[in-house]
Symmetry: C2
Subunit: 342 residues, 2 copies
């Protein structure tokens, strides 16, 4: 039914003429057409208005022709739906005025009816699917329970998320109870998104990579595994754990169809750790988009050669930065579209 099914083929490990490409945070701040909308509506209004979210989602597809769209939204809609206030402060980022730190705080946290509380997301998916008109697949996403937990405990972004980790190490029971509540909500949320029409889901574990391998297993991976188990028969699941190279071997046999990798691991090493058994997604350094278009093209070509064109989805190793020139994005996407192996 989809006109361009490169992305779904790569997820399943089928042979392709060239790898598909999309970019983390492709719907967003580097686009002038996004800035027009941004000036009129605040962040959560953009997320919560289906027409706006859908429009933002399809903007990069129109301009660059990526092989997949990803729904414009935010990982922190989950705590919002769980009765935790989340503000998005311009120039500062997320701010949660009432972080969860004690068993009493935890009592105020709900496991919501996501189809009701996050109905606006489901509506946005439906409008987006109409706009996309079967051109490319649509990805839905959620933060990993650990990554959402980091914000819920810390109350804001952080270099070390020391309060989140302090909670795990000094109040492990509280930490696990909260992580389980977030996990249960996330499973219901992603199931509803799949029902509403997304073609694949990605779990963003942005802060997993600050845990030791042992603590990662206990506080992050065990919850991601629950999500994969609940979803794997419903839609393809991609897991991206920034900095999580040390868990790649384990992730390979988890039931996820693809694993995201960041640029701190070479393609060869990533293939080795995953034994060539799974589709990989990544791993261009987002700041390497500051290079010249010519340099970008040659680096993308080399990256595809190194990962191999099959079982591979071209992407950045983290979200695109707001000040990347449009012609550099064009160079990145075109290098993939024009790829020919030798």
């Amino acid at each position: 039914m989809l006109k361009n099914d490169l992305f779904l083929k790569a997820l399943k490990g089928e042979k392709v003429s060239r790898p598909p490409v999309w970019m983390m945070r492709q719907a967003g701040r580097y686009l002038p057409e996004y800035q027009v909308i941004r000036k009129k509506y605040d962040f959560f209004t953009r997320c919560q208005t289906p027409e706006l979210a859908a429009e933002i989602t399809v903007q990069p597809i129109r301009r660059f022709g990526m092989d997949a769209a990803i729904l414009f939204s935010d990982i922190l809609v989950i705590p919002q739906a769980m009765n935790i206030e989340v503000q998005m402060q311009p120039g500062f980022g997320p701010y949660l005025p009432n972080p969860i730190r004690t068993p009493k705080d935890l009592e105020t946290v709900n496991i919501p009816d996501v189809e009701e509380e996050l109905d606006y997301v489901m509506q946005a998916i439906k409008v987006t699917k109409e706009k996309l008109a079967q051109e490319v697949p649509l990805i839905g996403f959620a933060g990993s329970p650990w990554t959402v937990f980091c914000y819920v405990i810390q109350g804001q972004g952080s270099k070390t998320f020391n309060l989140a980790k302090k909670c795990c190490f000094s109040q492990p029971q509280l930490a696990h109870q909260l992580l389980q509540k977030i996990t249960d909500t996330t499973i219901a949320y992603l199931k509803a998104k799949i029902k509403a029409g997304v073609d694949a889901v990605q779990i963003f574990d942005s802060w997993g990579g600050m845990l030791s391998p042992t603590d990662y297993q206990e506080f992050s991976w065990s919850y991601i595994q629950q999500i994969i188990d609940a979803l794997k028969d419903l839609a393809p699941v991609i897991v991206f754990a920034k900095g999580g190279w040390y868990a790649l071997e384990k992730m390979t046999n988890s039931g996820a169809l693809a694993l995201g990798v960041d640029w701190m691991i070479s393609p060869q090493k990533a293939r080795q750790l995953t034994q060539n058994k799974i589709t990989l997604q990544g791993n261009f350094d987002p700041t390497r988009l500051y290079s010249s278009p010519k340099k970008i093209k040659s680096m993308v070509k080399k990256m595809i050669d190194e990962f191999g064109k099959d079982q591979y989805i071209v992407n950045l190793g983290h979200g695109i930065l707001p000040d990347i020139p449009l012609e550099n994005v064009t160079a990145f996407i075109e290098a993939v579209q024009q790829y020919k192996s030798e």
Copy 2:
């Protein structure tokens, strides 16, 4: 001559009864006796007054009896000496009001006579050595050229150091010229420190781990290697690259006597990547010091068992956090002092 030479023995790979222990940032904010000095003198006054720097350096040795002292100072004394203004703003961190961004900016950067410009460091070393009275060795340190460069370009701390990386990728010539100036200054600085009496030097590559393996080689490691080459016959060199697991194989044969590792790599994996050929230092997660003293002791014991007692220096995987309870530090140090292999 030294009464306790465990640290130097471990550096040389000699057999020891138990591994030595020290903690990154052991001279600092978690100590009440440091807070007394902090209330009276601002940050750079503490660095620049030999009596104060020496007193702060020996405070943790007196209280906990670590096996090595590390001179209280800052990596940003180097750009200061190079004619780049550096302020330390309480609650914000380093701030460089005139960051280097253009060839014209670069012209204002000097390679100083470090023995003159940083004479206060050499004096601090002499006072510290007297205070230590040959009890334990003294470590001197510098930031890696890349890490210092990050601050000099960015002008402040950052989650991504996007401006520093942008400089490398869009003005590589400028980047390399500045990196070379920092390297030349750092070599002269560490030579002077060794002459003044430090027993070993550590290079802190705090931000190397945000570069891809290829870019790490070009923008960080090649300069660290120059420093090692210049110093290795004068004193033991320790290199700590946070997040630099992917470069461990290369570092093993660099002439450094020891490599620091963070807690995102298991002891077994670190030993494997370095082929059991070099002394390793680390790698306790600093936030794991929020655990109970009992838990800390069992984790330290396990960590030593996994690294092995020889060719090993017990340390954290990054600096100690300011709100760690003193009894937890005691547990960490005592677990090493009481270590017996089975």
